[in-house]
Symmetry: C2
């Protein structure tokens, strides 16, 4: 499996709108095993997205899905910064 | 919901054994919605654990579960370091 842990910084005051867009684009992506969107509990502008895919190709292919491309387009103006936390190899657990 | 993103550094050469222990302790924890254990793709000693719980109390209660306490006890000698990535408030996505 292929995983990503990413930290997204919203333009101040726009985290909720950005979360809505990220969630809207995340439904029904082939090969997506887990895609969890979370607010940082301490910083009001930070969003964490932790992803698990059956493989890296599925993740790459997701970026070409019309609904995903549309969500990314709408989200860009609300994103102040982006930090890739890690690329991972998920090996097990609850929720896979 | 309540979430955690944690980075665990294994004693060199012991990541697989540590992963086995973490996974062994993670089954059947009440209130655990997602508990994903992953290898860092770039560093051979790093493990990521991303967790989602129905609430913080469930997470705290899990630390008293005998199987979890046993796994933690066995795991400690194999852990070289521990970094709390983030405490989060999961809001949605795939796999919740």
């Amino acid at each position: 499996m292929y995983g990503l842990i990413a930290k997204m910084i919203a333009v101040p005051g726009h985290r909720d709108a950005l979360i809505d867009l990220v969630l809207a684009g995340s439904a029904g992506m082939p090969g997506c095993v887990s895609y969890i969107v979370a607010k940082d509990a301490e910083s009001s502008d930070v969003i964490w997205v932790t992803e698990v895919w059956d493989d890296e190709d599925s993740h790459k292919a997701s970026l070409a899905i019309p609904a995903v491309k549309e969500a990314i387009g709408k989200a860009m103006p609300l994103i102040a910064g982006f930090e890739k936390g890690a690329t991972t190899i998920p090996v097990g657990g609850v929720g896979l």
